[in-house]
Symmetry: D2
Subunit: 133 residues, 4 copies
């Protein structure tokens, strides 16, 4: 299967806004992280367990397009998909949707390379890799 989708929901915190009265653009990336962790969980994987097993998934590229501002107290859905982008690179894409009006506020993409505890690139566990193949 080449693509799998998952959803996660969050509510915008006051701490995430800035004085423009909207969410600070840098704070979206923590939401996308929530998106991919919940996506993994829905597939039966725990990112925490993966990391405790010695494999981390650091971000090597991140990009976001902000179409409409997210605002304080908004309820948002993060729709995440993941796939192997090459033998070792994993790509996640995200759509951020406001529940109240169904509007897509942002889309984003992150690229990751699995690494061992000492920072060397490695392979994901086979079962996870096959799921993303």
């Amino acid at each position: 299967m080449s693509e799998l989708a998952g959803t996660a929901r969050i509510r915008v915190r006051y701490a995430e806004t800035d004085q423009m009265g909207v969410v600070y653009h840098g704070n979206y990336f923590a939401w996308f992280e929530v998106g991919r962790v919940e996506w993994l969980r829905q597939l039966g994987w725990s990112y925490k367990a993966l990391e405790e097993g010695g494999v981390s998934l650091p971000v090597i590229e991140a990009a976001c397009q902000y179409r409409h501002p997210a605002r304080y107290d908004d309820e948002l859905e993060i729709r995440t998909t993941g796939r192997m982008a090459s033998g070792v690179r994993v790509e996640f894409t995200y759509a951020l949707v406001r529940l109240a009006d169904g509007r897509e506020l942002a889309t984003a993409r992150t690229m990751h390379v699995p690494v061992t505890r000492d920072g060397r690139p490695c392979r994901l566990p086979v079962a996870l890799r096959e799921m993303l193949a």
Copy 2:
């Protein structure tokens, strides 16, 4: 003049690290913001004054490539350039360099559209626009 460069320096805070032992990828965007604000200041502009005058510069796109991790207590230089990308869009590019070894840790890009207080796209002050032309 089509491109102007500025530099800013920051030191990595403990608060900016995560349990991977490196800086959380989402935190780089606050540094790039420091970069463009100091770039503006070096050109004789205050982003604060611009905003008090009714013009904000929200981010509509952001992208970063992470080459080597920034670590706690690292002293970093943010090298920023800005230019008009169209009649209304302003683009900034950033290189993040560690002072201790001169290594380029990341490069990034943000795109902005000036807006009035009620969120409508507007033009930058002429003098600033001409400097970026």
Copy 3:
């Protein structure tokens, strides 16, 4: 009624950890904010609506005791109570409990003074004040 309790649940984000492998102490305050906002919501109040109506509740004092570290992916419950501490001051107290083992990780307290849009101290809406009296 002199004291009312509410609960909210959050899951620790990777972004909230630091290189000590636990949650950065400063990040707890955003959780307590979630606690008091959900507490208000459970009483039928929206902090967002309150603020749109011209009354904000800035923090004038905050204190936290950290007993056991919160860790990545922990599911936490924030137990909040609020009361009028004087004619104008509102006090919230918080207990942060890990769901997996019921352990109380931290307790905290914040003091607030309602202010108008131009920053002047004011009174809370009567109905809310009476609920807290």
Copy 4:
């Protein structure tokens, strides 16, 4: 010597503000961390080196009184003092002063217990302890 003072300077980042138009209260704690790290550095100690040597200084209590709001682009001075509060506990106190008008915006206090890598309470290096005695 029972008390030693150090100073550090920061400029408020846009990312640190919230939609109240001032700095989010939880963000002050990252500044106090900058204060104590620079205080250590001014005494000839590197917190980074301390931690690489196996001793961390987690926060077990934190408290802040917010007197006047810090605002975007403010230049602030953090005045830090540290002392042994008991055989193992280290206490830091902070005053946050705005350079433009000399106004004290906040005062704060954090309590720490040195721990080893596996989280057990330990003693600070003798030379550091004596300096704080």
